[in-house]
Symmetry: C2
Subunit: 327 residues, 2 copies
C-alpha cells in the first residue's frame, strides 16, 4: 500500500495516470491555500468534475475504507485538505461544513499568523489563540485532522497538548538533518508523536539536505534514523509534490493576498520559482524508488510497508470520523 499525505499538483489526466503507474492508493491533496470559504467550495466543485471525468482513475476518499475500494478497483482515493484555515473564515460552524464536504486535514497556519495560531515565518509565536482553542476542539469533534506543517514551534506543541486526538505534520523533515525553517526540531516532532501523531517526510527540495541534489540514500537513511528515534509507527510520506505547477503558483502560496510585495519564502530573489526535484523523485511513478531506497537502509519489509502507507492508513482509519456524541 502506498499513501502520500501531501501533494499539490497541477492536476491532469496525465498525473492521475501516473498515480496508477506508481501504485499510489491514496493521496491527501491540498485544495486551498488562501482561499476563503466560497473560493474553497469552487475547488471542491473542480474536484467533483474530475471525479466525474476520470471515474476509472480517481475517486473521492472520505474514510480509510475508501482506500480499500480504490485498491480493489485500481484507482487512487483522493482526500482533501487545506494548508491554511482561511476556508473557515471566522466561523467555527464551517468546520463541520467543510468536513461534510470532504475535508480531512486543515493546517492551523500557513507561514503567517492566522486567527488560530502562528506560522513558522513570524518572529513572535504567542501560541494558540482563543478561537484556535475552540476550533481545535471542534476539529476533534467532527474528525478534521490538525496539521501543523507550516506552524511555529510553540503553536505546534500547544496544539498537540490541547487536541484530544492525534495531530500531524503532514510534510516536513527533521531540522537536525536539514536546518530549513520549515523542518521540525526534535522536541516538536516528539510532542506530535507523543499524542499518537504522524510525521510525513517531504521531498520538496528546500526541505532536503543538498536540496535537489539530495541523494536517495541520504533521504532514506534520514528516515531510518528518525524511525530509531521516534518509532517507525509514526512515520509516513508527505511528498509535497507540486508537479507541473507554473511558478506563479508558488508565488500564490507564499504571498496570497496578504502582501503587495513578493515574499520569497524558502526561495530567494535569485530562485523565486519551484526548485528542481531530485532525479529519483520527479512524479508519482517514483514511489518505487523510495520503497527500494528504504529497503536498502536495512529496514525490514514490515517497517518499509509501514512508512510507505500502512501507518497513514491506520491514522486515516482512526481520525476521520466524528467522535461519538457526548464523548
Amino acid at each position: 500500500m502506498r499513501i502520500d499525505a501531501l501533494q499539490y499538483a497541477n492536476w491532469s489526466k496525465t498525473i492521475f495516470e501516473q498515480m496508477r503507474e506508481g501504485g499510489v492508493d491514496a493521496v491527501h491533496v491540498t485544495i486551498s491555500y488562501h482561499e476563503n470559504f466560497r473560493e474553497t467550495v469552487l475547488n471542491f466543485e473542480q474536484w467533483n468534475r474530475w471525479f466525474e471525468q476520470y471515474p476509472h482513475l480517481i475517486m473521492k476518499g472520505v474514510s480509510a475504507k475508501d482506500i480499500d475500494i480504490a485498491k480493489k478497483t485500481n484507482r487512487t482515493a483522493i482526500f482533501f485538505g487545506f494548508q491554511n484555515p482561511s476556508p473557515i473564515e471566522d466561523d467555527i460552524g464551517l468546520v463541520e461544513i467543510v468536513h461534510t464536504l470532504g475535508a480531512r486535514f486543515m493546517q492551523l497556519t500557513y507561514n503567517n499568523q492566522s486567527l488560530l495560531a502562528t506560522g513558522c515565518y513570524e518572529d513572535e509565536d504567542p501560541g494558540i489563540t482563543r478561537m484556535g482553542e475552540q476550533v481545535i476542539r471542534e476539529m476533534n469533534r467532527v474528525g478534521l485532522v490538525i496539521d501543523m506543517s507550516h506552524s511555529s514551534d510553540r503553536s505546534t506543541m500547544e496544539a498537540a497538548e490541547i487536541s484530544s486526538r492525534p495531530i500531524v505534520i503532514s510534510h516536513a523533515n527533521p531540522h537536525s538533518w536539514m536546518p530549513a525553517r520549515r523542518n521540525k526540531r526534535d522536541e516538536v516532532i516528539q510532542a506530535v508523536v507523543n499524542g499518537g501523531g504522524m510525521l510525513g517526510f517531504s521531498l520538496y527540495p528546500h526541505h532536503l539536505k543538498d536540496k535537489g541534489d539530495c541523494t536517495l540514500e541520504s533521504f532514506c537513511e534520514m528516515i531510518a534514523r528518525t524511525a530509531d528515534t521516534f518509532g517507525v509507527e509514526h512515520l509516513g510520506i508527505g511528498s509535497d509534490l507540486c508537479q507541473d505547477q507554473p511558478d506563479s503558483v508558488v508565488e500564490w502560496m507564499r504571498v496570497g493576498r496578504w502582501s503587495k510585495t513578493v515574499d520569497y519564502g524558502e526561495g530567494s530573489a535569485d530562485l523565486p520559482g519551484f526548485p528542481p526535484m531530485p532525479s529519483w523523485f520527479k512524479d508519482n511513478r517514483d514511489f518505487g524508488n523510495l520503497e527500494q531506497g528504504l529497503k536498502n537502509t536495512g529496514m525490514s519489509d514490515n517497517e518499509v510497508k509501514a512508512v510507505m502507507g500502512e501507518n497513514w492508513y491506520r491514522f486515516f482509519a482512526g481520525n476521520f470520523a466524528p467522535l461519538p456524541a457526548n464523548s
Copy 2:
C-alpha cells in the same frame, strides 16, 4: 410510519418534542427561501447545532435508511430542502455541493421567475430556461429532487418531461377542490404522477377549502377522491406547517429582497400575516387526527399507511442517491 414532506417552523426543543409526541418519523424541512449559497450554509450550520443540542430528539437524514434508524432510536429524521434555487446562485457546481451537505429537495422557483423556471405568480410562463434544463439533469445525476410546488403550470409540466427521475409537488392541493393560485390543476398533477412523482397535501389554510375553517372530513375526502383519480401510491402529506413563526417570516417568504413594496402573496392587506390553522391540525401532535380522518373516509388501512408515510419512504429510498456513473 409518519412522514411530512414539508415544514418550515420556528424550530425549538418544544417543536422537536411535539414531533416525537406525534410519532413523526421524518420531516422535510425548508432551510432556504431567498438565501444565497453562503447564507444557506449558515442555515446548515444552525441545523448542525440543533443536531448536537438535541441528539435524543432529532437526527440528520440523508437517505431513507436514516428513517429506519430514527424509528429505532425514537427520533425524527430531518431532511433538508430549499423552496427556491437561490442557494445554487448561477453555479451548477453547487448542485452537487448542496447535495453533499444534505439537501434533498429544491424548488426550481418560488412564486417568481428564477434562473431556472417560472413561478406561479408570474403573468407569463416561458417554461424551463437554458440553465434550468442543465440543472434538472444535474439534480437527476446527484439525487436532488425537483420540487415544483411554487412553479407555474407550463414550467412544471416541462420539468416533469425533462427530468429523468420523478419530480414532486411537495405541498399543494388539487385546484379542483380549492381554486387557489398555489393549488394544482389536474393536468399538472397528472404530468407529475405520470413520471412516478408525488403530491404532498398541504394544510396551509390558503390551500384549504374554507381556509382555517376547513373540516377534517372535507380535507380527507379530498385526499380519498384524489387517490381515486391519480392513484394512492403517488400521495403523501406535505403539511406546510409554519408553527410559531412571527408574521415577519411570511413577509420574508413572499418579498425576500426582490421588492421594495410588500407583496401579499396568498394573503391580503387586511390579512398580511400567517392565517390561523384548522383546529384539527395545529402542530406535529395532530398527525393522528389526519390518520383517523383518512380511515373515516373508508380508505383501507394500507391506503392510509401509504398516504401517511410509506409512499414518501419509498420515494426517498429511490431518489436521494446519485445515479450510477455513466448511466
